[in-house]
């Protein structure tokens, strides 16, 4: 924890590092490491600001969102992987915090609905088009009919 705080203080660019005192609730600051910051920003877009109205913590002005952004950066700076950070938030806030809903007993219908609609629609269209593609097979004429047809062709007036 102290290690994370030191890293965070380093990232704050603040001149006097006041390590002895707890860090004041400072506004969010990018991490100095560009790769780590890019990872943090990608994660921020996947986490929901739990007091906001459907916004990610990456696009919210709420104070809680700023706190959550700081937590994301803290954990990334501490060397945690993306999955671990996600899991950390999920353990605290539940599935609600994940904007990318995990495939669970509660969400399988959500994830399967789009492919199901596409499959049903495709099947419906194929069924609807099928009779047009293959005209109904015509039974062959029997001998009597053939004879009558030949007569009709020769003498249309009959």
């Amino acid at each position: 924890m102290l290690c994370a705080a030191a890293l965070l203080a380093g990232a704050l660019l603040a001149a006097p590092p006041a390590l002895a005192q707890p860090i004041p609730p400072a506004p969010d600051r990018s991490l100095a490491d560009h790769v780590a910051e890019a990872r943090a920003q990608a994660l921020m877009r996947e986490l929901r600001c739990v007091v906001c109205k459907g916004q990610s913590i990456g696009d919210s002005n709420a104070e809680l969102a700023a706190d959550m952004r700081r937590l994301v950066r803290e954990r990334i700076a501490a060397g945690e992987g993306d999955a671990a950070v996600r899991e950390w938030f999920r353990a605290r806030y539940g599935d609600f915090v994940l904007l990318d809903p995990p495939f669970t007993a509660a969400t399988w219908a959500l994830w399967l609905a789009p492919p199901a609609v596409l499959a049903l629609g495709t099947a419906g269209i194929l069924l609807w088009l099928r009779p047009r593609r293959t005209p109904a097979p015509v039974a062959a004429l029997d001998a009597g009919e053939e004879e009558r047809l030949a007569r009709l062709v020769e003498h249309p007036a009959d």
């Binding site: 990610s56 609600f96 990318d100 088009l129």
Partner: protein
């Protein structure tokens, strides 16, 4: 006094709408011309009454009559005139009055332009239109009276939400409602056709321009809303897959599908029953959007009202309108005569594919928007469905659609040669491949999706060019020069090319701005700087400035590239003292050749430093440019002479009438 007049006008409008909803319908059923005739004057009278009410409400806002409750809640005497007017529809009650006003305008337009419609079809359409109007007017009068007085009247109003005090958002609701209501006309035509039990040439000729007009309004409204979110919310995002955004996006997807299937009905007399279903679905989704936004079911930035009584009323309306029209469809649609036949590989077949993908897309957005609500209702817990879900489900549906958009217009009606069409697209495939390779070579970060997006855009643009070139080559037989041949192309042809090209341009914007965004947040004191995407942004200082109803901290930032000074940016942090001390950020945005530089001034830390966010959004302007091209394409198509088949005969009649006096 004027407010009471407005209230009475609304009540009269409801009475007129009730008469218009019933008498012409009976007239059409009994073949009584005089009863059918009532529809036209009633539509005009309804417009007059609603316009009077709207004018009375606007008057209350403009003059600052704070004894009217909604004015006191949403306006302030220091608010600039534009925002005193836009405050009329910046709240629940007023936005409904705007809804019925646009509904009445469209209804009167059908009555006015539709003189050459078959009388029974016109009477039934106007009657159905009046049913929708009556339902909304009753809703306003029963649950959301905009003219209710506040007693005692406050001396000053509480001001419009500062986020809404913006030109973009002043025009966003009227355009969006124009789209929703335009779809209501198409819905009325569809229900009228089901009542008649037949769909003929007159029907399809009438439905397409109204669909097109609604689609143009919806496209412009959604783009304007997205643009507003981009510059006003201060984060540079342009689409959040927010439930309210989705509520307007679903009707757009279905309207786009309808726009294409209506062409098939008009040209080929096929897909009639399906088009009627799309017309019903399009307006049902508009109603659903209204329900989601107005009932307070959702809690989102856009929601102004939350009142369960209102929610129940709209839900009832939804059930009657959607359930009733779908029941009518199930009963009557099988009686519609089947239309022209076509092979799967044909222009019609391409439209069917378009409809399949767009409707699946709409269903995906529908499920993603309502699933969390439904799950909570059944006690299944709370989940969030956000951008990653839609990126994983919706975007993959749009990729094959964009591929097909280039091919569809090259196919012939009835039966087409797919190999020939693909052969003509050889050059387009080459260009797309080259773009993909170049993207993989140059780009950093998410290369694969970037290559897919840009290659799709190139494929689509080259496909449009191929199609236009083919048209011109065909016209060469006439021996006219290139200029003449270009001018001789029908406006609808230009419209389609422009709209499809707009899609390609928008894809570039979406891909680049979402995949290659750069951003940095830091604290800056005067004299310090940060560098993002090669732009060095230095804070010179922060000054206090005063606006009409706010005070602002205005940062002055000097931007330089490679040590060379480039420009000064002035983002603001506004403090609206009239609106409960709300703070908004006004980002400073400058469009550069490769993208937008986006600078936001955040909060001060009290020790001389300010939080500053700098974003670079590559090619985001292409998104707005693409949307604008789609709108212009729609307008060009609307101007096509072929859509006004009835017009010459009327002009001739006018000419004949004028001749004797001349």
């Amino acid at each position: 006094m004027i407010a009471e007049l407005g209230h009475f006008a609304l009540i009269l409008a409801l009475c007129v709408a009730c008469a218009q909803a019933t008498v012409p319908l009976l007239g059409a059923a009994w073949g009584e011309a005089r009863l059918m005739e009532l529809a036209r004057p009633a539509a005009h009278a309804q417009l007059a009454m609603v316009a009077l009410a709207f004018a009375a409400l606007t008057n209350a806002y403009v003059t600052g009559d704070f004894s009217v409750a909604v004015v006191a809640q949403n306006s302030h005497s220091a608010q600039p005139l534009l925002y005193r007017v836009s405050a009329v529809w910046g709240n629940h009650e007023g936005s409904l009055v705007l809804w019925v006003l646009i509904l009445a305008v469209f209804g009167a337009a059908v009555a006015g332009f539709g003189r050459n419609l078959p009388p029974a079809l016109a009477a039934r359409t106007l009657a159905v239109q009046a049913m929708i109007g009556a339902a909304f007017l009753a809703f306003i009068l029963a649950t959301s009276n905009p003219f209710a007085r506040a007693f005692p009247a406050p001396a000053e109003g509480m001001s419009l939400n500062p986020l809404l005090q913006d030109p973009g958002l002043a025009f966003h609701p009227p355009l969006l409602y124009g789209g929703y209501v335009g779809l209501s006309i198409v819905f009325s035509f569809a229900v009228a056709a089901l009542l008649e039990g037949r769909i003929d040439a007159a029907w399809s000729r009438w439905v397409r321009p109204w669909t097109l007009a609604a689609w143009v309004c919806l496209t412009a409204g959604i783009a304007l809303g997205s643009w507003w979110a981009y510059y006003e919310l201060g984060w540079g995002g342009w689409w959040y897959w927010d439930q309210v955004e989705n509520a307007s996006f679903m009707p757009w997807l279905v309207a786009t599908a309808l726009l294409h299937s209506a062409i098939v009905v008009e040209r080929r007399d096929a897909l009639k029953s399906w088009t009627v279903l799309l017309a019903i679905l399009g307006f049902s989704l508009s109603l659903l959007g209204t329900f989601l936004v107005r009932s307070g079911v959702l809690t989102s930035v856009h929601t102004f009202a939350s009142d369960p009584g209102r929610g129940l009323f709209i839900l009832l309306m939804l059930v009657v309108a959607i359930g009733g029209s779908l029941a009518l469809y199930a009963w009557r649609a099988p009686k519609l005569s089947p239309g022209g036949l076509f092979a799967p590989v044909s222009r019609e077949g391409a439209v069917v594919l378009n409809n399949l993908l767009l409707c699946t897309g709409a269903a995906t957005v529908f499920v993603g928007t309502l699933y969390p609500l439904a799950l909570e209702v059944v006690g299944g817990g709370r989940v969030s469905v956000g951008p990653p879900f839609f990126a994983g489900t919706f975007v993959p549906l749009m990729v094959p659609l964009a591929v097909a958009v280039a091919v569809g217009p090259l196919l012939a009606w009835k039966r087409a040669d797919l190999g020939g069409a693909l052969g003509r697209l050889g050059a387009a495939a080459g260009i797309a491949g080259a773009v993909a390779v170049a993207t993989l070579w140059i780009a950093v970060g998410d290369k694969v999706w970037g290559a897919v997006g840009l290659a799709l855009a190139a494929w689509l643009a080259a496909g449009v060019a191929t199609e236009l070139a083919g048209r011109l080559r065909m016209a060469r037989a006439s021996g006219a020069g290139l200029g003449r041949r270009l001018a001789a192309l029908p406006a609808g042809e230009w419209g389609m090319a422009l709209a499809h090209l707009g899609l390609a341009v928008a894809i570039v914007g979406m891909t680049a701005s979402s995949l290659w965004e750069r951003g940095h947040v830091g604290a800056l004191r005067a004299g310090e700087s940060m560098t993002v995407a090669g732009y060095t942004v230095a804070l010179r200082g922060v000054a206090e400035v005063a606006g009409p109803n706010y005070t602002a901290a205005r940062g002055q930032f000097d931007v330089a590239v490679g040590g060379r000074p480039l420009m000064t940016l002035l983002p603001e942090r506004r403090h609206y003292h009239t609106a409960g001390d709300q703070t908004t950020t006004e980002a400073a945005i400058r469009t550069r050749p490769l993208g937008d530089l986006y600078v936001v001034l955040g909060e001060p830390d009290g020790q001389g430093a300010w939080t500053v966010r700098v974003h670079f959004r590559p090619m985001v302007s292409a998104l707005w440019a693409g949307a604008l091209m789609m709108v212009l394409g729609g307008l060009a198509s609307l101007a096509d002479r072929r859509l006004r088949v009835g017009a010459p005969s009327r002009r001739r009649r006018v000419a004949q009438a004028a001749a004797p006096t001349a």
